[in-house]
């Protein structure tokens, strides 16, 4: 069942179309990865979902309610971590966490303490003195210690060190186990691969690809490194074979996942001595889409 759904969501800033017909759908109990280059429109989408920005056209619902009209009702059941966490310099981290939890309604002191310990945060320090990562921890602790149904996380790990990233991932997995739904925007593919059931890739305000990781892998290529007794012939012409490179270690090729079977059968005729394969990564897919625009843009 779709807990969050957008339909042809469009957002215009003056003449600039930041979002152009965005359709995403997050189902109950699922972690949805929302990825795309800088300035693609991830944060804008999320802000529309929060009812902070008003969509120019199209509709968006969470729990079946309109994100703009029923914002407050929806927000009682969601937790949000912004991409750029700006806090009040003269309040302490502890005060901010309490305030945030309170504003959602609800109070879970023991969970709060546990998370503060896990994330290794000193809650008595003023936010002015926190580093970017520490400010992010404050927002994460506040989000995770609230008992929400949907978590909207905008690049939540961009300032965290690898250790904290792991704590974050564990927390997300815990939530998933409890059957919570999560919308996770990210740049970090390993994170998305590890956590997400489905992903949507956005570029220049358009969703260019979406589906389960499994489905998307069909669009990716497997990297093979082979050594054979006889030199392999007539590989160039084969369907689904790319980037052939000779080296001392062997022959390196990229193979479209759908054609893998064909290609392997062909190679095996030449007497395989060694075969290494690197798993298809989202990175390849990601890079392929980024490259076609020269990657990036203003954020």
């Amino acid at each position: 069942m779709a807990i969050l759904k957008t339909n042809q969501l469009t957002k215009q800033f003056g003449d600039f179309k930041a979002l152009d017909g965005v359709n995403i759908e997050v189902n109950e109990g699922e972690v949805y990865g929302f990825i795309g280059p800088n300035g693609a429109g991830k944060s804008t989408t999320i802000r529309v979902l929060l009812g902070v920005l008003k969509a120019s056209s199209g509709e968006a619902t969470i729990f079946g309610q309109d994100v703009w009209k029923d914002a407050v009702a929806i927000h009682k059941r969601i937790a949000y971590v912004p991409g750029d966490v700006n806090l009040w310099p003269n309040l302490t981290g502890g005060e901010v966490i309490d305030l945030f939890v309170k504003l959602r309604g609800g109070n879970n002191q023991s969970r709060r303490e546990e998370l503060i310990k896990k994330f290794d945060l000193d809650p008595t320090k003023k936010c002015r003195t926190y580093s970017k990562g520490n400010r992010q921890k404050v927002a994460l602790i506040a989000a995770f210690s609230s008992d929400a149904d949907l978590y909207i996380l905008d690049e939540p790990t961009s300032g965290l060190d690898p250790l904290m990233e792991r704590v974050f991932q564990e927390s997300v997995i815990d939530l998933k186990r409890e059957g919570k739904s999560i919308l996770l925007s990210s740049h970090i593919l390993s994170e998305v691969e590890k956590l997400c059931d489905r992903v949507g890739i956005i570029r220049q305000g358009h969703i260019i690809e979406s589906g389960t990781l499994h489905e998307l892998r069909h669009l990716t290529r497997t990297h093979l490194l082979v050594e054979t007794k006889q030199p392999i012939t007539s590989l160039e012409g084969m369907k689904g074979v790319h980037d052939i490179e000779e080296s001392e270690k062997g022959l390196s090729i990229q193979v479209d996942s759908e054609e893998l079977d064909q290609v392997l059968q062909h190679i095996s005729q030449f007497g395989v001595v060694k075969l290494e394969s690197a798993p298809p990564t989202l990175e390849d897919l990601f890079m392929r889409h980024y490259e076609s625009t020269g990657a990036g843009g203003a954020s």
Partner: protein, 534 residues
């Protein structure tokens, strides 16, 4: 500048000029423009010796002296003497405000926002940003001094000779330079830009009140105030240059201290202590209202103290008032007496108009804080949780209204109780209080305009300040400049019954309330519709 501490100062100065390429010309043009225009208008308003003579007499009273400073050359009240008496202090204060805001913006504010860190990472010296800011402000104030000095001289008014005009300009420039140095110093001491601006404004306020007390009672106080020094130049009358030298000398000293402090401190650190904080939020902090109050606590307390101080200062001049006014026939024309109403009461009525406008300032600041929070991307934390826009704006609105009310009450009660203790009068504290409270609807209209702008056009909230400045100008100083009636009527403060001189007038008061309510309702509607920037 060979010293590596100052590396690239010139380039940074040019960068500051570029960043402020609109702001600086606007400040300079409006300051010199207004100075020259007013001088020009004086010649039209008071063409004869007699007309100036009579206005001179109206100006000689403790309240006026406390307000604009002692007049010099009152027995030969030339246009020049008049400019120096009526305009110099207020213009100088505006120049001080300009300098404080610009310096704070380029020093502590940039540091707080992390911009300075990027500049520091470039091959720039540790003191380059501070010195570049000072260089720019020095240049700005010199340009201001020259432009207004030469501009005044160019009017060709007989009593405004070259030396006097240049001194007038120099007095403005020196004030600007002095507050440049003060702000540069506080930018080192305080850890936040708000603190820097707050402390600098405190110095400005204390300088003003010290001078006011000094000018009315004991001259020694005036000489303890930089604004007293500025007025001590006795421009166009005696043309003393040494107070300018004194002011600049002290400024240079402050700048050296600021540079020294800046050279020994960490980026982002200050010298005023900041204590470790609480682990948990108090029950009080756990709502948008509590948060809004907490964020502005220090500012509000300072304002409250300031307002009591303001009331008490004005109240203390009431003792001399009656004897003073009784000698003067012209005063009667000025205040247009009503039968059976004492001069004291008329003065009270007049005073309350300015006090109510000053009390409007913190009320507006409270509401604009919400816009500031939005700019800093902190509103989405609240709206992203179960807080409706109405509740959020409502919290700030309620605090704003209460702030206006409390500030006005404090000032009126401070004024009334001190005034009653220093004079014999049949007036009661209630009279003072009600003559202040009738301004609440006008204040509510201003708050309504602010709410409307926050709701629809958050980028031009500055308009409210312009409008308040305009109101101050036409309502308070209007008598002096004899504007057309409609000019005054454009301000909500002009439609308030002047208690205790006039009768209470429910018609105009209700009209103001209705307008205020309409503005506020519209503001809420707008805020519920628009995009929140962050």
């Amino acid at each position: 500048m060979a010293n590596p501490l100052f590396n690239q100062t010139w380039k940074l100065s040019r960068f500051i000029l570029r960043r402020d390429r609109f702001k600086l010309p606007i400040w300079l043009l409006s300051l010199t423009g207004i100075t020259i225009l007013i001088a020009e208008s004086f010649t039209g308003l008071y063409p004869t010796d007699e007309s100036r003579e009579s206005i001179a007499q109206t100006m000689v009273n403790p309240a006026m002296t406390a307000m604009v400073g002692p007049g010099y050359g009152l027995d030969n009240y030339t246009i020049g003497a008049m400019m120096a008496h009526q305009m110099l202090l207020f213009t100088a204060i505006t120049v001080a405000i300009m300098s404080i805001l610009i310096v704070a913006n380029h020093t502590r504010a940039d540091e707080e926002d992390g911009n300075l860190e990027m500049i520091r990472a470039l091959p720039t010296g540790r003191l380059s940003n501070l010195s570049a800011t000072i260089v720019v402000l020095l240049g700005v104030n010199v340009v201001l001094a020259m432009a207004s000095g030469l501009g005044l001289y160019a009017l060709g008014i007989e009593s405004m000779d070259l030396q006097g005009s240049l001194l007038y300009g120099a007095a403005l420039g020196a004030t600007g330079f002095f507050f440049t140095s003060v702000t540069a110093l506080f930018a080192q001491l305080s850890e936040s830009s708000r603190g820097t601006i707050g402390l600098s404004f405190t110095v400005l306020g204390v300088a003003y009140f010290l001078r006011a007390i000094g000018d009315v009672s004991n001259e020694a106080f005036s000489w303890a105030s930089p604004l007293g020094w500025i007025l001590g130049t006795e421009v166009y009358v005696n043309n003393y240059w040494w107070p300018i030298v004194l002011t600049c000398g002290v400024s240079v000293l402050f700048i050296l201290i600021a540079l020294y402090l800046s050279s020994i401190r960490d980026l982002g650190a200050g010298f005023l202590p900041s204590k470790p904080g609480k682990k948990n939020a108090s029950p009080f902090l756990q709502s948008p209202l509590g948060l809004a109050l907490r964020l502005q606590r220090t500012g509000l307390i300072s304002w409250a103290v300031g307002m009591v101080f303001l009331g008490v200062s004005y109240g203390s001049v009431f003792g001399d008032l009656d004897s003073f006014f009784n000698d003067m026939e012209v005063m009667e024309e000025f205040l247009s007496p009503v039968a059976g109403v004492s001069i004291t009461e008329q003065f009270t009525a007049k005073l309350m108009s300015i006090i109510s406008m000053i009390c409007t300032i913190p009320a507006l600041m409270v509401l604009f804080k919400l816009k500031g929070e939005e700019k800093k991307n902190r509103v989405e934390h609240l709206l992203g949780r179960a807080v409706s826009r109405t509740r959020l704006l409502g919290s700030y609105f309620v605090i704003s209204l209460i702030t206006g009310f409390v500030m006005l009450s404090l000032a009126a009660l401070g004024l009334g109780s001190v005034a009653l203790s220093v004079m014999d009068s049949s007036m009661s504290l209630g009279t003072f209080y009600s003559s202040a409270m009738v301004y609440m609807p006008a204040m509510a209209v201003m708050i309504g305009i602010a709410a409307l702008l926050v709701g629809f056009l958050p980028n031009i909230t500055g308009f409210t300040w312009l409008y308040l400045g305009y109101s101050f100008f036409v309502v308070y100083l209007g008598g002096m400049f004899q504007f057309e009636e409609w000019v005054g009527n454009m301000s909500p403060f002009a439609h308030v019954p002047q208690l205790p001189v006039q009768e209470m007038e429910w018609g105009s008061t209700s009209a103001l309330i209705v307008i205020a309510v309409a503005l506020i309702v519209a503001g809420f509607a707008g805020y519920n519709k628009r995009d929140i920037q962050g």
